[in-house]
């Protein structure tokens, strides 16, 4: 599949700005993207990356400036495909039916067969060896599988050809193996003349796949250079963070307190320990954590001092209370502890929230704004604040760094270590090996059970990968 090699760019932005009321999300952006380019878009949480994407694909209209997409024939078929940051499939439809939604050409008798073939082919092309049934309803799939489906729909031909595919944090729920498959496909796609905008907070991926990087900061483009012109440190610096290479000082059992927790699956944790859960995505880690949390707290009564706190990773499903302000979202878990006669202590509530805004750096000028006005990463910080503000001795975290930028990640790592030093215990599931390597001890999951328990020097990428895949290599 080779395209006629137009020199014409796929999209051109000139002087584009976008405001949400008083918030200026994008300021005077000029950007040109040519066929064959893979553009990396990086920046801190709330820098405006998603907003830029939504302008390019037409979901939002710019406040000022112009966006030119020469290949657009109509809105349904502009050759521009987006894979959104929040999953946007119809959960009640099957994988093939979801393709039908964005593919008007699928109609008439037999469309189901054609849809199944098309999505199946696209999935196999990008993720060879995947086990997704095109007839499966989306809500029976794991979050990683859904993300794969969405990516496959983005790259599927759908009657015409995809000219520009925009991927907004596509790997945030994927494990390393699957993410690698995606990166390879992106490379092939660009070699064939397609263009890609790739947003990620995982700088390794950015370096691996892109040939040009745009750095955004507070709604402006601060850098736009070829990938080779950056190194890891200079990129982090350009994003406005001081590169820290803080290395976890891993602690051993003797340095920690008594065992405070054991689960039926065999997870155990000591006082003050940071315990990681790892393995391929969707192998039972999230379920084990949720079960642990639900079993040790009650739906019938709330204690003033909860036994556990939970940090959700799937924000819309498990975390955010969308009608409420940032303040109320942050304080919901601590209301009971500060209450007198069942009444909310509003002064204490405001003070705690302001304190945590400081400590965790939630980017907003008013905690009274609704939570949905925050960018994805900042919403995540609110969920962190919610859990850490409680007095719970154990904090359970379900892949909590999804969409958190590099700088904030370092801050949160530090905070977790500080809390752990004061005797808090953390259970931390993550799809990213880098995070798991912050832990004192790691349980690797495979097919819903623990396949390895690693501690001390054993906690490293090779051992984790080995434990994740063992059976499959046999």
């Amino acid at each position: 599949m080779s395209r006629d090699n137009h020199r014409q760019p796929v999209v051109t932005l000139t002087g584009v700005s976008k405001s949400f009321g008083p918030v200026k999300a994008l300021d005077d952006i000029d950007l040109t993207l040519s066929p064959g380019e893979c553009l990396g878009l990086v920046g801190h949480n709330g820098a405006g990356k998603s907003t830029l994407v939504n302008l390019i694909n037409g979901t939002l209209k710019p406040t000022h400036g112009e966006i030119h997409t020469p290949y657009a024939r109509n809105r349904r078929d502009s050759g521009i495909r987006s894979v959104f940051q929040e999953l946007s499939l119809c959960p009640n439809l099957s994988v093939a039916e979801n393709l039908r939604i964005c593919h008007g050409g699928l109609s008439g008798p037999g469309w189901r067969t054609r849809a199944r073939e098309e999505i199946g082919a696209s999935l196999s092309r990008i993720f060879p060896g995947h086990d997704i049934d095109p007839n499966a309803e989306v809500d029976t799939l794991s979050i990683a599988q859904r993300q794969m489906v969405e990516i496959a729909i983005g790259f599927a031909p759908r009657g015409s050809e995809a000219r520009l595919v925009i991927l907004d944090e596509p790997t945030s729920s994927l494990d390393a193996g699957i993410a690698g498959q995606l990166l390879e496909h992106i490379q092939r796609f660009c070699d064939d003349g397609g263009a890609v905008i790739f947003i990620s907070h995982m700088l390794g991926e950015i370096f691996q796949v892109t040939n040009r990087i745009v750095v955004m900061k507070d709604g402006r483009m601060v850098e736009d250079r070829a990938t080779e012109a950056f190194c890891h440190a200079s990129l982090v610096e350009a994003m406005g963070h001081v590169a820290q290479q803080a290395h976890a000082t891993r602690r051993t059992a003797e340095m920690l307190g008594d065992e405070v927790l054991t689960s039926p699956e065999g997870i155990s944790a000591r006082r003050g320990e940071i315990v990681g859960l790892s393995g391929l995505a969707g192998h039972g880690q999230a379920e084990a954590l949720a079960r642990l949390y639900l079993d040790s707290t009650s739906g019938w009564s709330a204690r003033r001092e909860p036994a556990m706190a939970f940090v959700a990773g799937d924000r819309p499903r498990d975390g955010v209370l969308p009608l409420w302000s940032i303040l109320r979202n942050a304080s919901i878990s601590t209301l009971n502890a500060a209450a007198r006669w069942g009444m909310v202590d509003r002064r204490a509530e405001a003070a705690t929230a302001a304190d945590w805004q400081q400590r965790i750096g939630i980017r907003t000028n008013d905690l009274g704004n609704t939570i949905t006005s925050l960018s994805g990463g900042n919403q995540q910080k609110v969920l962190f604040a919610r859990a850490l503000a409680t007095s719970a001795p154990i904090v359970v975290m379900d892949d909590p760094m999804r969409g958190v930028d590099v700088g904030t990640k370092q801050d949160v790592y530090a905070m977790i270590r500080a809390e752990a030093a004061q005797g808090r215990t953390f259970l931390w599931y993550s799809t990213e090996t880098e995070e798991v390597c912050q832990c004192d001890r790691v349980f690797v999951f495979r097919n819903g059970t623990i396949s390895a328990e690693l501690s001390g020097a054993e906690v490293n990428e090779e051992r984790i990968l080995a434990a994740s895949f063992e059976m499959q290599e046999n």
Partner: protein
């Protein structure tokens, strides 16, 4: 937040004021007091059941209690039967009504929680059973309330109907609970996203149970008061409160999608629903035209209130 609260609050009251003015324009200013008094009396019953319905609706989509009329009938019937018209038994009757309310609420919640029935079906099916119970217990006989109780229910203090005073006190209590109470926050959180609320440490099961118990108890109290007010319980008592309770909740500005409730607006809507029927009666519309106008007005208010909200 405050702007969100004030808008729907405003619309229900504005609508009742307009309707009130139109009625008074017809009957003359001299009758305004009488109309207001009647509106407060009958609005009180709608407000009491409406508060209960509001708590349940706030729990989120699909939560609704269709057993309100049956609970009212059962409570009115059993309470009046227990009192048997004897003087000095008013508290006994209230006790019976409260017990009925808790029983009904408990059964409803058990059906929803244990059998996992959708609330709309669970409460509908259960209400048929409550209705049978009411028929079986009393065969539709109308027993008079004790004289003192009847006098209290139809009487007034400080020029305000006693039933309205009760409803106002109940509304204030619930309002404070929702605005300032931990339980209120928990209810609102559960209504927005029950799963997220549970994971944030909210005891969602007891919040739910509380809401379903509250609506049943409030319906039972309202049935007890209504039976005393209208001189006896009847098997078809309270039928109109099924749709009325839903209408006052939503016209009052509570979000049917859950997570947001509005007590002051609810009272405005309760007055409105009474006043609009009286106005149409007074202007001499026949049943068909009256129903159509009621429908048009309800939709117009919902549009007006919502258009305001989405524009801001």
């Amino acid at each position: 937040m405050s702007s969100l609260i004030s808008r729907p609050w405003l619309w229900a009251w504005l609508a009742s004021a307009v309707v009130f003015a139109l009625s008074v324009a017809l009957s003359g200013a001299g009758q305004a007091g009488g109309l207001l008094y009647a509106a407060l009396s009958f609005g009180a019953f709608a407000a009491i059941v409406g508060i209960g319905q509001m708590l349940v609706v706030t729990l989120g989509p699909g939560n609704i209690d269709l057993s309100i009329p049956a609970a009212m009938t059962l409570s009115g019937t059993l309470a009046l039967k227990a009192m048997g018209g004897e003087p000095g038994t008013a508290l006994l009757g209230l006790g019976v009504a409260l017990l009925v309310g808790m029983g009904v609420g408990g059964v409803n919640f058990a059906l929803i929680r244990l059998l996992r029935l959708p609330p709309i079906i669970a409460t509908l099916a259960a209400s048929l059973i409550y209705q049978s119970l009411a028929i079986w217990s009393n065969r539709g006989l109308r027993i008079k309330p004790p004289v003192a109780l009847a006098d209290f229910a139809t009487g007034r203090s400080l020029g305000i109907p006693n039933v309205a005073l009760i409803a106002i006190v109940l509304a204030i209590v619930v309002w404070v609970l929702l605005e300032r109470g931990v339980w209120g926050r928990w209810l609102l959180a559960t209504g927005q996203n029950a799963r997220a609320a549970r994971l944030a440490g909210v005891p969602v099961e007891s919040v739910r149970a509380g809401a379903y118990l509250s609506v049943a108890v409030l319906a039972a109290v309202s049935g007890y008061l209504l039976a005393s007010f209208s001189g006896g319980a009847a098997l078809n008592m309270g039928q109109q409160y099924l749709l009325l309770s839903i209408a006052v909740v939503v016209i009052g500005g509570t979000s049917i999608a859950g997570g947001f409730s509005n007590v002051p607006g609810l009272w405005g809507a309760a007055l409105f629903m009474f006043l609009v029927v009286s106005m149409l009666n007074a202007y001499g519309f026949d049943a068909g035209a009256r129903m159509m106008l009621t429908g048009v007005i309800i939709i117009a208010i919902v549009i007006a209130a919502n258009a305001r909200r989405s524009r801001s």
